[in-house]
Structures are given as structure tokens and as C-alpha cells.
């Protein structure tokens, strides 16, 4: 297939651009300082031997060069604003502009974390309103907004688990984690001093209840479960799972990475979850920013509330708000100040724009989109689990393997068709996984273009496998050498490399 048959994109010149250091020349500047309204001081006499004698190696460039530099670099990125970004479990949805605007209002963006509570009532009200909304959405009793990202929320949640069990006399030793889980789950359990015990999935891609029953004992603190899991499958045995854990005194932690499948349609608090984290940058539309910032609030049931990180926002008798530090059973702090507040602002703006019906419709559309793709691509690609899926769907490269083509090759070829690839080779329970999450933000046209692209690539796998194996063909760079990068790491620019 020639590039003229690709409907979504066309090639277009993109500007070349070096590293910012390569534009540097002494005397160029992009700033002018204010008039100093106090006497100047001599740095050497102020600082003595602590004075830095050699200036840090930073570039000297002009404002126009900076603007062009970052504009040019930006054009080399693919983004949600370009089109579908179906990275499974990352929930790459549209990022509303009003969120960005309100987060930048001067006395919101300019609030100092230590200014008096009386002068920060607006900020506290934003946090409280968001906290209440998220508690309602999760069907929980309490929440902390302090964790800075999903993995940080996981850590906070497992700290709650540990503190609670300790208060009952025994923190226990192990945490059960299904084989389909994100890598952050086992890494988190280890950070909180737990051993990780793998829990296998059954043939339907759900928790093997018999295995859980056999593995659950008084040494097990709890289970970290993503539901729907990374296969996009909602574990219908969730009630039984919670019962098995609770019967032996364990707790059920839910990784809320896939909450976009549930909002306003089901509440984890109603199906036995003791605590969970949310990713505001997934479910609640705060931007991913090229890798962050995120925000990972942790909601919990009443029995875990005393252990939440401090401070929490509390209400005074007169209706005003304060930061409550008087929490003797708290697990402590997981971050300085109050979390990624700027993300709290954005998430709340999103919830307000949606309302209860909008949130429900959003979830329905997310599930509708994923099921549409599944239906359209079934047969063209191998579907390892026949179990119905929710907001994402996982295919494998099994059919294309015959030509020696792997999931990573198909992903690279998708780039030529104008799409960001799906999540490659994850979850690990599926060999050659292709994990697709369209989110609710995709119009039908975009979904159909994606289906066309995937089918065209499948055809290419038969007719011209080398074309796929050597993709992408239309990008500035192709198939970067990751092995060489790791073998002899170059992690900073040095002038002699020029």
C-alpha cells in the first residue's frame, strides 16, 4: 500500500532543530530583570567561600529561539490533540481547555501552601468539593488527595492496609497480586515491606477463585486487584473475592487505573473494596503532560479513615475549612504540602462539566467505543479471551506471527497510518499483547479510520511483511537503537559531542 492510500495523514515537512545548547552564544539573552529597589550587594562578601565561581553550564539564547525551539520540538510529538491515542490502561482522553484556564487563575495558581488558612479558603473549598465528589463516585467514606500519581496512591493505599492490620495486632506478610497486574503493584507492595505472591488467572481472564481460596490465609494482608483488569475484563466474582479476603481478615485494594469503565455505572465501595486509588490524569481528564504530573487520590472505607495521610481538609463549626493535622493514627505524610493541587482543580472542573448524567454517558461511550473496535477487529486479529470486555480490549499478534511479525511491528506501522500505537506486549498474561483503549473521546470517523488502518496492516502482514517489520517509514527517525542506548548510556549533552 502506498502512502496515498492512507486516509488519516499526509507527510508534511517538519523543522529540523538541534539541542538548545547548540544555539548558545555568549551575550544572547531572553530576559530583562526588574529595577532593583534595594541596595545591590556583593555576592562574594555575602557568601564568602560558598560563592559559586564558575557559572552553571546553561545556554545563552534569545526569546525567539526559545519559542521556535520548543515549537519545533513539539511538532515531533504525537498527542491526544492530533487524534486517537489508544494506549491501553493509560486512558488518553480529551483534556478540556477550561480545566487549564481555571487552574491558572492568579490567586489559585499563586497561592502559597503555607499562607494562612483564612486566606486560602478558596483553595481548601476546591479540595473539599473534589474530595466529596470522588467519595461519592467511588462509593467510599473518606479520601486523601495527597498522593502525586497512581503508583504513589498505591503506596498510600497499602500503607493504610498495613496500618489498619497493625492496629488489629498483626500487619501480616504477603500481598496477593494477579499475574495480569501493572508492574507498579508488586513494586508498591515491596516498598511497604510486603512479600508479593502471584495469583493466577483462570481461563476467562479472571481471578481463579479456587487459587485465591487456597492462598488466602492469616499471613496474607490483602489483594491488589485492578477491576476491570488489564484485559478489560470486569471480574464478576468481585463479591466473592471480597468475601474470601474479609473472611480471613484481609483487605481488598482496588487499583483504579481502569475506573473509566465504571464511573456512574458501578461503585467499588458497593462491591467490597476497602480502599482504592484514582488516577485523575486518566479518569478525570487532567492532562498527561508527556509523562506527568498526575494525581492519585486514595479513597477508603470508614475503618481505614483514621489512618489517612495528614493533613486532611476538615470543616469548622462556622462552615469555614481548615487543614486537620491532629490525626494520631495517620500513616504520616506521603508528600510535602497537599498533593498536586493544580490537578485537583482540573479534575473538579471536569466533574462539574459532566454532572451525573455526563459522567454516566462518558463511561457508556468509553465502553461502547472499545466494544465497537473489538467487534470490528475480531477475526483480523487473535482475541485470546472470549470473555466480554469493558473499556479496553486485548488482542494478540498470534495470526501475524506466522510471517514473523510481532505486536511491536504492527504498532510501528500504525504510526505510518497516523495513530499512536496501542500498549505493546502488556498485559504479560497474553503473549504478543495489543492492548487497545480508545476512551470516550473518539468520534466514529476516527474509530473507523483506526479499524481500516489495522485491517490494512493485517493485509500488509500477508502481502509485504518486510514493509511492516521495517516500519515506521514516514517519521523523522525510525527504529532507534535502544540496545546501544542502554549499553553505553549518554544521558547528558557535552560540548565535544557536537
Amino acid at each position: 500500500m502506498s502512502t496515498k492510500d492512507i486516509k488519516k495523514v499526509n507527510t508534511h515537512p517538519s523543522q529540523n532543530e538541534g539541542l538548545i545548547f547548540e544555539h548558545s552564544s555568549p551575550g544572547k539573552k531572553a530576559y530583562r530583570l526588574r529595577q532593583l529597589d534595594v541596595p545591590a550587594v556583593d555576592a562574594a562578601s555575602e557568601l564568602g567561600s560558598a560563592l559559586r565561581t564558575e557559572a552553571a553550564a546553561l545556554p545563552e539564547v534569545s526569546e525567539v529561539e526559545i519559542v521556535r525551539h520548543f515549537t519545533r520540538l513539539s511538532t515531533w510529538n504525537y498527542a491526544v490533540d492530533h487524534g486517537m491515542y489508544p494506549l491501553g490502561s493509560c486512558t488518553m482522553k480529551y483534556n478540556p481547555r477550561v480545566n487549564e484556564y481555571v487552574a491558572r487563575l492568579e490567586s489559585i495558581a499563586g497561592a502559597h501552601p503555607y499562607q494562612s488558612e483564612a486566606s486560602a479558603q478558596g483553595a481548601l473549598r476546591i479540595m473539599k468539593t473534589l474530595a466529596d465528589a470522588l467519595v461519592e463516585i467511588c462509593g467510599m467514606d473518606a479520601i486523601t488527595l495527597q498522593p502525586a500519581a497512581g503508583a504513589h496512591g498505591e503506596m498510600t493505599g497499602i500503607l493504610l492496609m498495613r496500618a489498619y492490620l497493625e492496629s488489629k495486632g498483626n500487619p501480616r506478610k504477603k500481598i496477593l497480586i494477579p499475574d495480569s497486574a501493572h508492574g507498579t503493584n508488586p513494586a508498591t507492595a515491596a516498598m511497604v515491606g510486603y512479600q508479593v505472591e502471584n495469583l493466577r488467572s483462570n481461563a476467562n481472564g479472571m481471578v481463579d477463585l479456587a487459587a485465591l481460596e487456597a492462598q488466602m490465609n492469616e499471613d496474607v494482608a490483602g489483594l491488589m486487584l485492578t477491576n476491570p483488569n488489564t484485559l478489560g475484563i470486569f471480574d464478576a466474582q468481585i463479591g466473592e473475592i471480597a468475601e474470601i479476603l474479609h473472611a480471613k481478615g484481609g483487605l481488598l485494594y482496588m487499583d483504579g487505573a481502569n475506573m473509566n469503565a465504571l464511573v456512574a455505572k458501578a461503585r467499588p465501595g458497593d462491591f467490597g473494596v476497602d480502599m482504592m486509588h484514582l488516577n485523575l490524569h486518566k479518569t478525570f481528564s487532567t492532562p498527561h503532560g508527556g509523562g506527568g504530573p498526575g494525581s492519585g487520590p486514595v479513597a477508603c472505607k470508614a475503618h481505614l479513615e483514621p489512618f489517612l495521610p495528614k493533613p486532611v481538609v476538615a470543616e469548622n463549626a462556622d462552615g469555614s475549612l481548615r487543614l486537620d493535622y491532629d490525626r494520631p493514627q495517620s500513616v504520616g505524610r506521603v508528600r510535602a504540602f497537599f498533593g498536586n493541587f493544580g490537578m485537583h482543580v482540573r479534575a473538579l472542573a471536569y466533574i462539574m462539566a459532566n454532572g451525573p448524567d455526563g459522567l454516566r454517558q462518558t463511561t457508556e461511550d468509553a465502553v461502547l467505543n472499545a466494544n465497537y473496535l473489538r467487534k470490528k477487529l475480531e477475526g483480523t486479529f487473535d482475541l485470546p479471551y472470549a470473555t466480554p470486555t469493558m473499556h479496553e480490549t486485548v488482542f494478540s499478534d498470534k495470526l501475524q506471527n506466522k510471517q514473523g511479525i510481532k505486536t511491536g511491528d504492527i504498532a510501528k506501522r500504525l504510526i505510518d497510518y497516523g495513530f499512536h500505537p496501542y500498549t505493546v506486549s502488556f498485559p504479560m498474561v497474553v503473549h504478543g499483547a495489543m492492548m487497545i483503549e480508545p476512551t470516550e473521546s473518539e468520534p466514529l470517523e476516527e474509530l473507523d479510520l483506526f479499524v481500516d488502518a489495522m485491517k490494512a496492516i493485517a493485509a500488509e502482514c500477508e502481502s509485504d511483511p518486510e514493509l511492516v517489520k521495517n516500519a515506521p517509514h514516514t517519521t523523522r527517525l525510525s527504529r532507534l537503537d535502544e540496545t546501544a542506548a542502554a549499553r553505553k548510556p549518554i544521558l547528558r549533552w557535552k560540548p565535544e559531542q557536537k
Binding site: P113, Y114, A149, T184, G289, L368
Partner: protein, 442 residues
């Protein structure tokens, strides 16, 4: 709902294609008893203009146009407008982690530049792509030192930001890592004698902050000698990154945990900010978080990729160096742009203005109250002991003068009595300093 790009007909068409009679059929996997059938108790959909109104009303409930004479881990510096105009391009803020380097070279190159500038600033050889913030970065640096040395005790200077120490305590609790504290002497610096006694051959690391929580610049060389003599690592936390433009970088440290908020990141009531861990090349396999590295593509062209990912959770799972996944990439981009705007010369001149403002503030407030910790250099923060109650001054200045005054230290350091921690930056006006001085004496 205005963020949803579908008409009712299209939804119907899609359901038909799937073979479902209604969308609720797609939710059949959820057992009926767990399906949520009522409306969430939330306000109804709001128009964009209503949302803007609501947040403007909240903004009005915060202090407006205040003068800030307080730092303590969050610094009020001017943010050049280029930052927000550039990061507001969708290609930056609506992308994710650069997993596919062919279509993420912008983000990857920006991270590589960021890592380079952090190395130049801190005197270290490698820097990661970012951590959540200065406090978690410091905690991860302490954990890293434990892995590097194979030792299981850490010493924290009491002059490290109190909230950073709280976070480290949370992280260390279940790592079998006992923490001990070492105090400060009358000049505000780490008590070297006490430190010398505290460090043993079981000590994994000593964490100090410089400038420390009181604004005092530590004698990093002397501390490093004591720490290294026992084979421990020195971790230096830097909360006011701008100090590095004028203060000798902590090149004797083994790990630097930087909070980069000063560089173009809004105060935003405490976050999002950006932590960074910088260290020596030899410790590279133990560094947490993402790293961008230079490589070539198949035609030999220079490009950048995420590298050394075998350290990370998605490969190593429970054996990873950290559980961190999402970091603070967009904030690191702000920092990058900021460092370009000021550059090699401007950052130093800006730091000199901070030094001048703080010197003036110290002198002016010092005429009405006692300046503590004399005898060691400071950057833009200092501690005073006044006759008026520090909490009362704080409340009064906020209420009557719209000034965020020095932080009363009794909250964190009962032993320091009626003291407060002040800060002056290039944005602090002489008038505000003069006003504050009047109140301190009242």
C-alpha cells in the same frame, strides 16, 4: 455532554454493529447487585461560563495580589510568559510518556536537555527525568543510598525541611531503615561534632539540605569529609533551586535531590512541582525513575529514547528501584524553558537580586527583631526572633496588609521558641518588607 463526540444516531449505529440492543447490555459483566442505578449526588452539568464563574469565586476567597515573604520549600519567583504559551501546545501537554520514540522525539529531547542542565547546575554527572517533588525525591534518594551501600541506617539533619523528613519517615518505615536526627549549631549549620559521633560504618547515608530549612548554606565539604570517612553516602537536598546559580554546587555529594519549583513552576498551593535526583555515573543502575538517553536511529541520525528501563517497575516489578511510573514531565518542561530564558548569565543575576532583597529584608527586620543563626552564609531566607508573637504577626499581616509573613517555626521546632522563617525574592517589594518590619515590632 459537550466533550463526547457522538450523535444519538451514531451510538445506535455502533450498538447495531456490536449486536447489542442497548448500551446496558455492555455492562452485563457487572453483577446486577453491583450496578449503580441512581444518579450520582453531584451538581448538574455546568456550562463552561458557569465553571469559570465558580472558580473565579473560589479564587476571590483566596488572598488576591498578596506579597509573599515566605518560602519554606515553595518560592515565589516570576514566571516568564513563554513558559505557559509553549507548554499549552497540545503536543506537549496532551501527550504521554514517550514510549514510542519515533513520535515522541520532542518530549525525549526536552528531557535530555533538562537532564543536562540539572547536571550543570548541581555538579552531578547524571540526572533523571523527574520525581514527584523535592520531598519524595529526597526519600527516594535515601532509599537509593541504602541499595548502593547495602547498609540500613540513615541520618537526617534536623535542618532538613520538616515535611520532607516526615515523608522520608513514611517511606523508610517498612524498609527496615531506622532514621536518626542530627541537630544544628548556633550558626544554623549541621552540628559537625554531633554528626561525627553519629555516623558509623552502618550508616547508609546522611541527608542534609542546603540552603537548609533556615536558609543557611551548609559546609558541604566538611560534612562530606565526615560522611565519606565512614563509607557512607552524602545526600544533599536542595529546595531553593535558584540558590545553585550563585552558591557553590554540592559537588562533594553522592546524590542530590532537587526541588525545581523555583524555576518557573507556579506555587499552586503546593503542587504540582518537580523533584529530580542527580548522582554520579557509577550509581546509575540504582537511580529511580525515567532516564532519556541519546542514541541513533537505523540511518545513523541522532535521537533519544527512554533507557535503562530494566531498573523500572514495568520490567522488574517487585525488584524495581522504585514503583514510580508517571512523573512530573510537563513541570520539568517548564523548568527547562525557564533555564533557557534566564540562561547562564541571567540566572546568576537573578540570584544576585534575591541575595540583595534578602539582605535588605534581614537588615530591616533585624532592626526590629533578632536575626538568628548569624555567622554562616545564607541565600534568600533567614530566621528572626521577635518580641511579638510570631503566629499573631503572621495572622495580622495576612489579614490587614495582604502579606504572607514569615512562617512561625514553633509548629515544627518547639525548641526555637518565638521565631519565624522569612524569604525575599526578586518579586518582594521594598515596601512590603518595610511594612512587615513595622508589624514585627508591634
Amino acid at each position: 455532554m459537550r466533550y463526547l463526540p457522538k450523535s444519538p444516531d451514531e451510538r445506535k449505529l455502533m450498538l447495531d454493529a456490536i449486536g447489542a440492543g442497548s448500551v446496558d447490555e455492555l455492562f452485563a459483566p457487572i453483577p446486577e447487585r453491583f450496578r449503580f442505578t441512581r444518579d450520582l449526588c453531584l451538581p448538574p452539568q455546568m456550562a463552561e461560563s458557569e465553571i469559570v464563574d465558580w472558580f473565579r469565586a473560589r479564587a476571590a476567597e483566596n488572598a488576591n495580589g498578596q506579597q509573599i515573604l515566605l518560602g519554606a520549600g515553595a518560592y515565589n519567583h516570576y514566571r516568564p510568559l513563554a513558559i505557559d504559551t509553549l507548554i499549552s501546545r497540545g503536543e506537549w501537554f496532551t501527550a504521554y510518556t514517550p514510549y514510542q520514540p519515533e513520535i515522541a522525539q520532542g518530549t525525549l529531547q526536552a528531557i535530555f536537555e533538562f537532564q543536562t542542565m540539572i547536571c550543570g547546575l548541581t555538579g552531578m554527572e547524571v540526572a533523571n527525568a523527574s520525581m514527584y517533588d523535592g520531598s519524595t525525591g529526597a526519600a527516594e534518594a535515601v532509599m537509593m543510598a541504602m541499595r548502593v551501600t547495602g547498609r540500613h541506617e540513615a541520618i537526617l539533619a534536623r535542618s532538613v525541611h520538616p515535611e520532607y523528613r516526615e515523608v522520608i519517615a513514611t517511606y523508610a518505615k517498612y524498609q527496615g531503615l531506622p532514621l536518626t536526627e542530627v541537630g544544628f549549631s548556633t550558626n544554623g549549620r549541621v552540628d559537625l561534632e554531633a554528626l561525627d559521633k553519629a555516623v558509623t560504618d552502618k550508616t547508609a547515608c546522611v541527608l542534609i539540605q542546603s540552603p537548609n530549612f533556615f536558609g543557611t548554606i551548609e559546609d558541604v565539604v566538611a560534612i562530606a569529609d565526615i560522611v565519606h570517612a565512614k563509607g557512607a553516602l552524602l545526600v544533599v537536598s536542595v529546595a531553593e533551586a535558584l540558590s545553585l546559580a550563585l552558591v557553590k554546587p554540592p559537588a562533594e555529594a553522592d546524590i542530590v535531590a532537587l526541588e525545581a519549583q523555583s524555576f518557573g513552576v507556579p506555587l499552586s498551593y503546593g503542587g504540582p512541582y518537580a523533584g529530580v535526583i542527580a548522582t554520579r555515573e557509577k550509581f546509575i543502575r540504582q537511580i529511580p525513575g525515567r532516564l532519556a538517553g541519546q542514541t541513533t536511529d537505523r540511518d545513523g541520525k541522532r535521537g533519544f529514547v527512554l533507557t535503562l528501563s530494566t531498573r523500572e517497575q514495568h520490567i522488574r516489578r517487585e525488584k524495581a528501584t522504585s514503583n514510580i511510573c508517571t512523573n512530573q514531565a510537563l513541570v520539568a518542561l517548564m523548568v527547562n524553558i525557564y533555564m533557557d530564558v534566564y540562561g547562564k548569565v541571567g540566572l546568576r543575576e537573578l540570584a544576585e537580586q534575591n541575595l540583595a532583597k534578602a539582605a535588605y529584608a534581614r537588615k530591616t527586620l533585624g532592626a526590629k527583631a533578632k536575626v538568628l543563626f548569624e555567622g554562616a552564609p545564607r541565600f534568600n531566607e533567614f530566621v528572626i526572633e521577635g518580641t511579638a508573637d510570631a503566629e499573631a504577626v503572621f495572622t495580622r499581616l495576612s489579614k490587614d496588609k495582604n502579606i504572607v509573613a514569615g512562617l512561625p517555626l514553633k509548629r515544627f521546632y518547639p525548641e526555637l521558641g518565638n521565631t519565624s522563617l522569612w524569604c525575599a525574592t526578586e518579586l518582594t517589594s521594598r515596601e512590603a518588607i518595610d511594612t512587615a518590619a513595622e508589624e514585627v515590632a508591634r
